[in-house]
């Protein structure tokens, strides 16, 4: 391995990057954009959901119930509805996400321990409807306990690692995986294909450059930028999104470097196989971004997927990284404490490195 050759390739690649504002913007702005977009846009909890109220009881007990809903950060109650028809119309127009109906005999039945209230939900967005329902049940459950009406068998739960059950804490570490997958694979998928497309490789073949030096020199600048992106994303996670980093920073950096190399090698392999930039970028997007988004457990729980798809997720590097990233951030674990997750990622690194190395030999450079 000739260091002068590697340095020449890396420096040249760096010049390309600096002179292509689109690539540079993609590398530097996309991580921040993705982080803020996903960090704020994807919420698996609700806040200030508009709920219409029809109080037919007009009792102290019904007012207490409303006060409980109002006090919850999850709901904002809207009054002034005179009938169930008006409630349904409000739901139809999308003014409210749900409607709470307190029947005339609510106070009396409450004293008898048989009170019922009705919750009408807008089921168009089934996920939101389920969230509203769960939050409403929580309010009712708490009220029942306080008024001595708790059931004989009560569940006393305690949530660890994400005590306030904020979905943001679970999502933001996952976004980091997404950012690195996109940047790592997309950028490297273009770089070798560009040399092939522009015919530069033909000139390089008559130099003493080996395929190993070519590959390392090509990937080095993107690795550095990828790690800068990691620093930016981690900083934003901690200081902007208030995600606690309970585990080792060194562990996070180490496993992130492994993941970045995996996705970069994926991109490089795609680049060599595709041979042109357009095809390479499209394949990279389909091969990395989509699986990282849909099959990594970042948003959708893998356990809830069909069994076949669950097996497919084992081929997605982001699946392991998302899991590790969450464990390091929220559970305070280190990568070496989770060999069942770290191991496959290291195995992927070894396999992809071997495949890319082997394939790069066919570029016609010196062995």
């Amino acid at each position: 391995m000739n260091f002068q050759h590697v340095r020449a390739m890396a420096r040249k690649e760096w010049w390309h990057l600096l002179r292509d504002p689109r690539s540079l913007a993609l590398m530097l702005l996309m991580p921040t954009m993705l982080l803020f977009l996903f960090g704020y846009a994807i919420r698996l909890d609700i806040s200030d959901a508009p709920i219409a109220v029809l109080d037919e009881s007009h009792s102290a007990a019904s007012r207490t119930l409303q006060a409980r809903f109002d006090a919850s950060h999850a709901f904002t109650l809207r009054h002034g509805y005179a009938s169930r028809r008006e409630l349904r119309e409000a739901l139809q127009r999308g003014e409210v996400w749900g409607a709470l109906v307190i029947p005339p005999d609510y106070a009396r039945r409450l004293q008898q321990g048989q009170a019922r209230v009705q919750l009408l939900l807008d089921g168009v967005d089934a996920n939101t409807a389920r969230l509203v329902q769960n939050y409403a049940l929580l309010v009712l459950d708490n009220l029942a306990r306080e008024t001595g009406q708790s059931p004989a068998l009560a569940l006393q739960d305690r949530v660890y690692y994400n005590e306030t059950r904020e979905s943001r804490l679970a999502i933001v570490p996952g976004v980091i995986a997404l950012v690195m997958a996109v940047i790592g694979a997309l950028m490297t998928s273009l770089t070798i294909a560009r040399e092939m497309e522009l015919g530069n490789l033909v000139m390089l073949r008559t130099t003493p450059l080996t395929h190993g030096e070519f590959l390392i020199g090509k990937l080095a600048p993107y690795f550095v930028l990828g790690m800068v992106d990691l620093a930016v994303a981690t900083g934003a996670a901690i200081w902007v999104f208030d995600v606690p980093l309970r585990g080792s920073l060194v562990g996070l950096v180490g496993i992130s470097a492994v993941f970045l190399l995996v996705v970069m090698l994926q991109g490089a392999l795609i680049s060599i196989l595709a041979g042109n930039q357009l095809l390479a970028s499209q394949v990279a997007l389909v091969q990395t971004f989509l699986p990282a988004f849909l099959l990594s457990g970042f948003v959708f729980a893998i356990e809830n997927m069909p069994v076949v798809l669950q097996y497919v997720t084992y081929l997605v590097p982001a699946r392991f990284y998302v899991s590790l990233s969450k464990a390091i951030f929220l559970k305070g674990l280190a990568p070496w404490m989770l060999w069942s997750v770290t191991g496959p990622l290291l195995l992927m690194l070894a396999v992809l490195a071997a495949l890319t190395w082997r394939r790069a030999r066919r570029l016609g450079l010196l062995p």
Partner: protein
């Protein structure tokens, strides 16, 4: 002839079922420019890629500097200018040169000296900071040549390097190439341009997968058993049918007020002049020296006519 630096022996190559080269042999000596001439698709680029070790021939042998490409380091000791621009358009002239200097393992001080020398030879000192993509076509090719020369090669392979370059820049490029030849470098130069072939020391005509004719441009322009005469006069066009029927005249190529005649070797100017008296007394006859480009074009026309 000195011991050749570039030697191709009985090289054959096929793309699938399509045979492109069949038993091609040629040799290029130190300080010689060998012009590989052929029409588009004749296999010139394929032959060059085989000659620089980027394609493996199906049969035959390639040696450069007495070595085969089984020695992987050989490729680094030859220079190749592919068809089209093989450099980096977003890098400056200086950066492109530095990049290739680094790849050839030149030290910092050696790089500075070499770049200074190459810039002076190519006349590009004033353009060091200009991006390669912003250079004119001729300048681009000069830069590509400078990058190819960075390794101080003994053998060079140039694939139609002046395609799309204006005549003035083309002349400058050839002056540069003449300097390289004077240093004893063996150059294999592929071109479809017969005008350029005349600048080469020797020329090989690549046709139907093989070198059909080979020699100096003067040798190639001279067709065995024939020579050329020019007949001119104000009414030469009207005289063409009669000219074609004159004894010893094989072919007539009219051009303006002149007709070039391919005549048999036993037909001299005096005999022709006497024969012309009976056609038009105002027609003048003179002997012309052969021109490679004209000869080749006429031969092609002749072959086409023979094919019907």
């Amino acid at each position: 002839m000195a011991e050749p630096i570039i030697r191709l022996h009985e090289v054959s190559f096929a793309y699938g079922d399509e045979l492109v080269l069949q038993g091609v042999s040629l040799a290029v000596a130190p300080g010689e420019i060998y012009g590989l001439v052929g029409a588009d698709g004749a296999g010139k680029s394929t032959l060059l890629r085989i000659a620089v070790g980027q394609l493996r021939p199906d049969a035959g042998e390639v040696t450069v500097l007495g070595q085969s490409y089984a020695d992987p380091t050989l490729r680094a000791r030859v220079a190749y200018m592919p068809q089209g621009f093989g450099l980096y358009p977003d890098l400056s002239v200086q950066e492109n040169l530095e990049f290739f200097a680094d790849l050839h393992g030149l030290s910092k001080s050696a790089t500075a000296v070499r770049i200074r020398d190459l810039l002076a030879r190519t006349g590009m000192q004033a353009f060091t900071d200009r991006r390669a993509g912003k250079l004119s076509g001729g300048m681009m090719q000069k830069l590509a040549l400078a990058c190819a020369l960075m390794s101080d090669p003994r053998a060079m392979f140039l694939d139609e390097p002046t395609t799309g370059v204006d005549p003035v820049s083309r002349r400058a490029f050839w002056q540069l190439l003449s300097g390289v030849r004077a240093e004893g470098v063996a150059i294999l130069y592929a071109t479809a341009n017969l005008d350029e072939a005349e600048r080469c020391d020797r020329v090989g005509m690549l046709q139907d997968g093989g070198i059909r004719r080979e020699g100096t441009p003067v040798e190639l322009a001279r067709v065995e058993g024939r020579h050329e005469m020019a007949v001119s006069g104000p009414r030469v066009r009207e005289a063409l049918p009669a000219l074609r029927n004159l004894p010893g005249v094989e072919l007539v190529f009219p051009r303006g007020r002149t007709a070039t005649l391919w005549v048999t070797d036993d037909t001299d100017a005096r005999t022709l002049r006497e024969a012309l008296r009976g056609i038009d007394t105002q027609l003048a006859v003179r002997e012309v020296y052969p021109n490679l480009q004209e000869t080749i074009l006429r031969q092609l026309a002749l072959e086409e006519a023979a094919r019907g």
